[in-house]
Assembly symmetry: C2
Homo-oligomer: 291 residues x 2
C-alpha cells in the first residue's frame, strides 16, 4: 500500500466528525449538510517553511498554527467554524513522527473549536507547506466585514500587539473566537478584521474598505511584553488579535474587556498616530509579503 | 502598498462572481449563500513544483491544472462545482507575469465550469505551490462515492489511460463534468471515483471502500496513444478520467459512450487482470506519492 494511503488512513482514524458530516475523509470529496438559514463562510491560509515557521519549529506547533490562523479569520467575520480540509507538502524524511505531530496540532485546534476535518491531500515537497481551507457559518446577512466602520466610531483591539515572532505568540496564540462570540451577544460591531500583517498595514486595509481614516493614540496602543515599543506593535504583524469598531455610544461598555486605541475619522484625514507629544503623524509601514 | 495587496487586488478585479456570493475576495473570509435542499461538497488538492509540474511548465497550465484536478473530484461525486479558494506560494522572481499567467489558467477553468473564485492567499515560497479548495453541491443524499460497487456490476472508464505525463494530458485534460452530468440524467451509478493515481492504485481504493474485487480485461482497457501498453494504462497515473460501476442491466446503454473494462467480483477474488492469453493475474503497482 502506498504510503500516502497510510497517512490519510491515520488522519481518518484519528478524526471524529459530527452529524453535519455525511461523508468525511476518504472519497473524492467530503459531503456536508449545509446550515439551514445561514450564510456560509470560507477562508484559506497557507503556511510555508522559512516564512511562517522555521525548519526547527515543532510539527505540533506548525499544525496548530495552520488551523489557528484560519479560525482567526472566521472569528473576524463573526462566524462559527465548522469544517476544514488540509493539504500538506512534506519532505520525504518527515512523513513519520513529523506528520503525526503535525496532525496532532491540527486536530487539537480543530477539536477545541468544534471543527470537523473532512478532507486532505498529502504530497512530497522539498519544504514543509501546510494549507487549510476552513468553512464556517454565520446568521444570514450578519457577517462582520472590513467595510462597515463609520466616522466617529471607536476603535478596539482584543489584546497586546508586537513581538509575536520573538515571543512565539505567532505559533501559540488562541484565535479570538470567544471574544467574537461575546461581541455577537453584547455589541453591534460595525467593522472587524483580524490583525495578521500588523496594525499599520491592517488599518490601511480597513480604511480602504470602509472609506474612512483612523486616528490612533500612541499611548492607547497595547504593546506586548518584550515587543520593541509602539513601532513594533504597529509593524511586526502576526498578532492575530481582532481589530474592530463600534459606535461611541457602545464603546463605554467595551472598555473593560478590550483595548480602545482610537477613533474613526474622515477618509481625507488619512491614518495618523496621535503621539505622546501631541503631534499627529501619518502611520506607515507594516508587513510586506514579498519585502 | 505591499505587493501582496496588489496581487489580491488583481485577482479581485479580474474575477466575476454570481448571485450565490454575498462577499468575495477581499475580506477575512468569503460569505456565500448555501444551496437550499442540497448537500455541500468540499475537496482540496495541492500542486507542487517538481511533482505535478516542472520548473519549465507554463504558469497558465499550472493554474489550469490546479483548478481542473479539483473539478475532477467534484465530477466524481456527481456534483456541480460552485466556489473556490486559492492559495499560492511563489518565488520572489515569479510574482509578475508568472502570477498573471497562473491566475489566467485558474480563472479560465473556473469560468468554464461556473465556479466563483471567492478567496485566496499569496505567499513567498522557494518553489511554486498552488492549492485549491473547491466547494460544490449535489442533490441531498445523492453523492456518488467509492463505496457502492456491487458484485456483478460492470466497470467503466470515460477515456483512454496511460502516458499522461509524456503526452501533457496531465496539464491539459478536461475534467469530466459533462460526462458526469450525462450519467446523472441517464444512469444509476453505483460507485465512482476519478483516476488520479493510476487504474491499479485506484481500483484498490474502490475495492477497499466497496468491499469487492475486480476482474479487468487486458484487451478492454483503453490505452492512450503514445502510452507504453496496458502496464502504463494501469500504473502511470494522472489520467483524470472517471472510473465507475453500474448494474449489468444498465451497462448496455453505456457502451457506446464509455469504455467497459471489466466486472465487479467478490472481494476474495482480489483485483485481477484477465490477460490476452486467458490467464488471471493479480494487478499490482500504481503511483506511490512517496515512492
Amino acid at each position: 500500500m502506498p504510503r500516502e494511503f497510510k497517512l490519510i488512513e491515520r488522519i481518518r482514524r484519528g478524526t471524529r466528525t459530527d452529524h453535519r458530516v455525511r461523508l468525511g475523509i476518504g472519497d473524492d470529496a467530503a459531503v456536508l449538510r449545509p446550515p439551514a438559514g445561514k450564510d456560509l463562510l470560507v477562508t484559506t491560509d497557507m503556511l510555508v517553511e522559512g516564512r511562517h515557521f522555521t525548519s526547527k519549529t515543532s510539527a505540533y506547533l506548525i499544525g496548530r498554527k495552520a488551523m489557528a490562523v484560519n479560525l482567526s479569520d472566521i472569528a473576524a467575520m463573526g462566524g462559527e467554524p465548522a469544517h476544514a480540509v488540509v493539504s500538506v507538502g512534506l519532505p520525504a524524511g518527515r512523513t513519520g513522527a513529523f506528520a503525526t505531530g503535525l496532525y496532532r496540532g491540527l486536530r487539537e485546534m480543530a477539536a477545541r473549536f468544534g471543527v470537523n476535518i473532512v478532507g486532505g491531500d498529502t504530497n512530497a515537497c522539498e519544504r514543509v507547506v501546510v494549507n487549510v481551507a476552513l468553512l464556517g457559518e454565520v446568521a444570514q446577512g450578519r457577517a462582520w466585514t472590513r467595510a462597515g466602520a463609520k466616522v466617529g466610531d471607536h476603535v478596539f483591539v482584543t489584546g497586546a500587539l508586537g513581538g509575536s515572532y520573538r515571543s512565539g505568540k505567532h505559533l501559540k496564540f488562541t484565535p479570538r473566537l470567544e471574544e467574537a462570540r461575546w461581541l455577537r451577544r453584547h455589541a453591534r460591531v460595525h467593522a472587524m478584521m483580524d490583525l495578521s500583517d500588523g496594525l499599520a498595514s491592517d488599518l490601511r486595509r480597513m480604511a480602504q474598505e470602509s472609506k474612512v481614516g483612523f486616528l490612533i493614540g500612541e499611548e492607547s496602543v497595547p504593546v506586548a511584553k518584550g515587543a520593541r515599543g509602539v513601532k513594533a506593535a504597529l509593524g511586526d504583524g502576526e498578532d492575530f488579535e481582532l481589530l474592530f469598531t463600534v459606535s461611541a455610544r457602545e464603546s463605554l461598555a467595551l472598555r473593560e474587556r478590550f483595548h480602545e486605541i482610537g477613533r474613526v475619522v474622515p477618509s481625507k484625514e488619512g491614518i495618523r498616530l496621535w503621539t505622546r507629544k501631541g503631534k499627529k503623524v501619518p502611520i506607515r509601514g507594516g508587513y510586506e509579503h514579498f519585502a
